[in-house]
């Protein structure tokens, strides 16, 4: 990192590219060929797209890029899902098919970098972007290590121009970078991992937990997934800032949303905007009447769910969000804009309602299977009260409140790196040092859990 921060220009591109490939190969060197293949295909498709004279030829080149990327994603991520689902379907009708299940390892971050490279070729096809002639710059755009494995999913028009590295990171960027990394680590380790440990136990054996414990488990999962993923995004953005690169914001206090449409403008922003630009709008968006708009919305959310993983639980999660969005559009009669005019109490009620809806959908997202989700719902409906409800409540409230507090400060200061607003250097470094001390201490209490979104 220090060398990467110090270097400038072309040499920095080469250095960061080598580091990025080393970083990716650290998990499994065999998958380096995959990312290299995707890079080569999209680089040349980009060149051919710009040279193609007719729309038909352009479209053919685009199909190659989309086909290759979706083909890779489909094979590595969804092959077994479709094979198993087909076998289950045949079995439902009394048939029998020999097992076609393949022993495939899912390459880390494949969903992220394939979407990123696809946006490059689609933007060139749409005439919104000129292709880069610099192969190394493009390779770094695809494999830039801070955001390679779990996003944010960057657009070429934002990230590629920054890959020139004409200047080193500014003092402000360095300060913001350090704060983002520190806060990100705190969120990931102290909030995400702690709650994750409890969530893992509850969802591994839901049958031995009481109704209220399952609800606490679900609330803790909502804290875990947010702290874990937004923590990772903070670390990614902070690391990029230290290298002089600005990445997009991925979260904007999503649990403060007053309705589900607003939630999707604040949660995993880089994915939701990608789905909107490259799926919802090409499907027709809201241009062809209400019914088709709802259909497009549902299709987008279903595919958004499937993007997270090859499991019916993710599809149901997507379907639930699709249904929520449609109902919200019906209720608000397709009015756009957020509920800024609501009073305090009404706002809180809306926030609580939105959170409950999101929480219900998280159950399907976290459950191992649809059957397990239904089992948990049945168990919750029994209203059994835990003998350790006080402790469970205390744990849940503490971690939820710390998460809300951090979001509240972000919201009030309108900054993810709000600590930079502290004027006294002694206090600024004191806060950062104490956060790091806590992170280090906690890391030694137990083995760290992997980032949730690494599996996607």
């Amino acid at each position: 990192m220090p060398l990467g921060m110090w270097l400038k220009g072309r040499i920095k591109v080469i250095y960061l590219l080598a580091i990025s490939y080393l970083f990716y190969g650290y998990w499994d060197w065999r998958f380096l060929s995959l990312i290299a293949f995707s890079t080569i295909v999209d680089y040349f498709v980009g060149q051919f797209l710009s040279k193609a004279k007719t729309k038909k030829v352009k479209f053919r080149w685009l199909l190659i890029s989309v086909g290759v990327n979706l083909g890779l994603l489909g094979f590595f991520k969804y092959c077994n899902f479709f094979v198993d689902s087909f076998q289950d379907l045949v079995a439902q009708f009394g048939g029998n098919v020999d097992s076609l299940h393949l022993n495939i390892i899912l390459p880390v971050g494949i969903s992220f970098y394939t979407f990123q490279t696809m946006s490059y070729t689609i933007d060139i096809y749409r005439g919104k972007l000129a292709p880069t002639r610099d192969f190394l710059k493009f390779s770094l755009f695809v494999s830039f290590f801070p955001q390679l494995v779990a996003g944010p999913i960057e657009r070429a028009r934002d990230l590629l121009p920054q890959m020139a590295f004409k200047n080193r990171a500014t003092r402000t960027q360095l300060k913001e970078g350090i704060v983002l990394i520190t806060l990100g680590l705190f969120k990931k380790v102290m909030l995400g991992d702690t709650t994750g440990r409890i969530v893992d136990h509850i969802f591994a054996e839901p049958g031995i937990y009481m109704s209220d414990e399952l609800i606490y488990g679900l609330i803790l999962f909502s804290v875990q997934i947010y702290a874990d993923f937004s923590g990772y995004s903070n670390i990614a953005r902070g690391t990029a800032k230290l290298l002089g690169v600005e990445l997009v914001e991925n979260f904007n206090q999503p649990y403060f949303s007053k309705n589900i449409t607003e939630f999707w403008r604040r949660w995993h922003i880089s994915l939701s905007s990608w789905l909107k630009d490259y799926l919802y709008i090409p499907l027709g968006g809201n241009r062809n009447g209400k019914f088709k708009a709802y259909r497009n919305l549902m299709l987008t959310m279903l595919l958004g769910g499937l993007w997270h993983g090859a499991n019916w639980t993710f599809i149901i999660w997507g379907a639930l969000h699709g249904a929520y969005l449609i109902v919200h559009k019906l209720i608000t009669k397709n009015k756009t804009g957020s509920d800024t005019e609501s009073g305090n109490l009404l706002s809180l009620l809306k926030i609580a309602t939105t959170f409950c809806l999101v929480l219900f959908a998280w159950l399907f997202f976290r459950a191992k299977s649809f059957d397990q989700a239904i089992f948990i719902l049945n168990k919750i409906a029994r209203f059994e009260i835990s003998d350790v409800w006080g402790t469970m409540l205390s744990i849940t409230l503490t971690f939820a409140l710390v998460t809300v507090l951090l979001d509240y400060i972000e919201w009030k200061t309108k900054s993810h790196s709000f600590l930079t607003k502290i004027k006294a250097p002694g206090v600024f470094w004191g806060v950062n040092a104490s956060l790091l001390i806590m992170v280090m201490l906690y890391m030694f209490q137990a083995e760290p859990l992997p980032f949730v979104y690494f599996q996607f």
Partner: protein, 342 residues
């Protein structure tokens, strides 16, 4: 002067925020506070009325009772005539801080006994981590007899039959064929401000760090990729545990003497947590102490293709999981009923 002010601000900020984290950890309850102390007579004991949350291969939330034990509180002066007390002695398997106490075999056995008998059964858990049979004997003599148990069960595994421990527990010696208990501990407890600091959760975290660094496990946590994978394949472990050899006897002279002493006590029984060697088994049988074998409970779990020591949430092996606790309670219910038959 300005620099000094900033250094002072830096230190104050760290201290204030560490205090805030301590509050967060106290309410968050994920780091257990200090919950054991050294008693001059019995050695390590749990502090009374302490809430404890523990993450190991399993997950435990629970608390100690007002008498500093696990399980129900009982009247030490007047024992109600209808009350039957069963004391459980053992190591971490009996402490059982891998499952919530309602899933612990002690609680489940108590429920089963109370459902099938007119008497009010109370299963008192005197387990202490790391205890061997000799330690259990000392604890039984120094503490448990005060509770007037109708039956005391000593839970043992092969490793509990050769005495090695001392540390914060009374030392036991065999001099002229007599068991001598010495209440001299190799470590002593802190007092005053230091003791107060040691009660902090941040201190617990620091101690855990120190012990990990001492065990040279720090790097494996920081650089997980280079460390050995602790997760276990469930089915492999079943096979491994089946191939355990039981040819080597473990009973040493001190523990043999303990067995001899226990055989003189009324209403005691040995519970086999794991199979012990035939030689050791015969020695205990010869002493006349009743033996309860938990192997059928473990075999029943294995028959259902479940690894008795596998924890799916952490993908680790360790103590018996909740499936075994449940089956153990069925066997213990039957055996305790038999042993306490008038």
């Amino acid at each position: 002067m300005k620099t000094l002010k900033q250094i002072l601000l830096f230190c104050c900020t760290i201290l204030v925020l560490l205090a805030c984290y301590e509050v967060m950890l106290t309410f968050g309850e994920v780091i257990p506070p200090k919950y054991r102390e050294v008693d001059n007579e019995i050695g390590l004991r749990f502090l009374s009325n302490k809430n404890v949350t523990r993450f190991n291969e399993g997950f435990f939330i629970g608390s100690t009772n007002s008498q500093g034990n696990l399980g129900p509180t009982v009247n030490l002066v007047n024992k109600p005539p209808n009350e039957k007390r069963v004391a459980l002695m053992g190591d971490s398997y009996v402490v059982g801080q891998q499952v919530f106490y309602r899933q612990h075999f002690a609680q489940q056995t108590e429920n089963l006994l109370n459902n099938s008998h007119q008497e009010n059964f109370k299963l008192l858990n005197f387990g202490m981590n790391g205890y061997q049979l000799a330690d259990m004997y000392v604890r039984y003599k120094n503490l448990v007899e005060r509770y007037q148990p109708d039956l005391t069960l000593f839970f043992v595994a092969p490793e509990d039959l050769s005495y090695t421990s001392a540390g914060l527990n009374p030392k036991i010696d065999l001099i002229d064929n007599e068991l001598i208990i010495e209440n001299q501990f190799s470590k002593s407890e802190s007092k005053g401000v230091k003791a107060k600091i040691e009660e902090l959760r941040l201190w617990s975290m620091l101690s855990a760090c120190k012990s990990l660094i001492a065990k040279k496990q720090a790097s494996s946590i920081l650089f997980g990729k280079f460390a050995a994978d602790n997760s276990v394949n469930e089915s492999n472990h079943v096979k491994n545990s089946e191939t355990l050899t039981l040819d080597h006897p473990s009973l040493d002279l001190i523990t043999m003497k303990v067995v001899e002493q226990l055989s003189k006590s009324k209403n005691v029984a040995v519970v086999l947590l794991k199979p012990i060697s035939t030689v050791d088994l015969n020695q205990i049988k010869l002493s006349g102490i009743p033996i309860i074998d938990l192997a059928p409970a473990i075999n029943l779990v294995k028959k259902r293709e479940i690894n008795p020591v596998y924890w799916s949430a952490t993908k680790k092996t360790g103590h018996y999981n909740h499936y075994v606790h449940k089956e153990m309670s069925v066997i213990l219910d039957e055996e305790i009923s038999k042993l306490l038959q008038p």
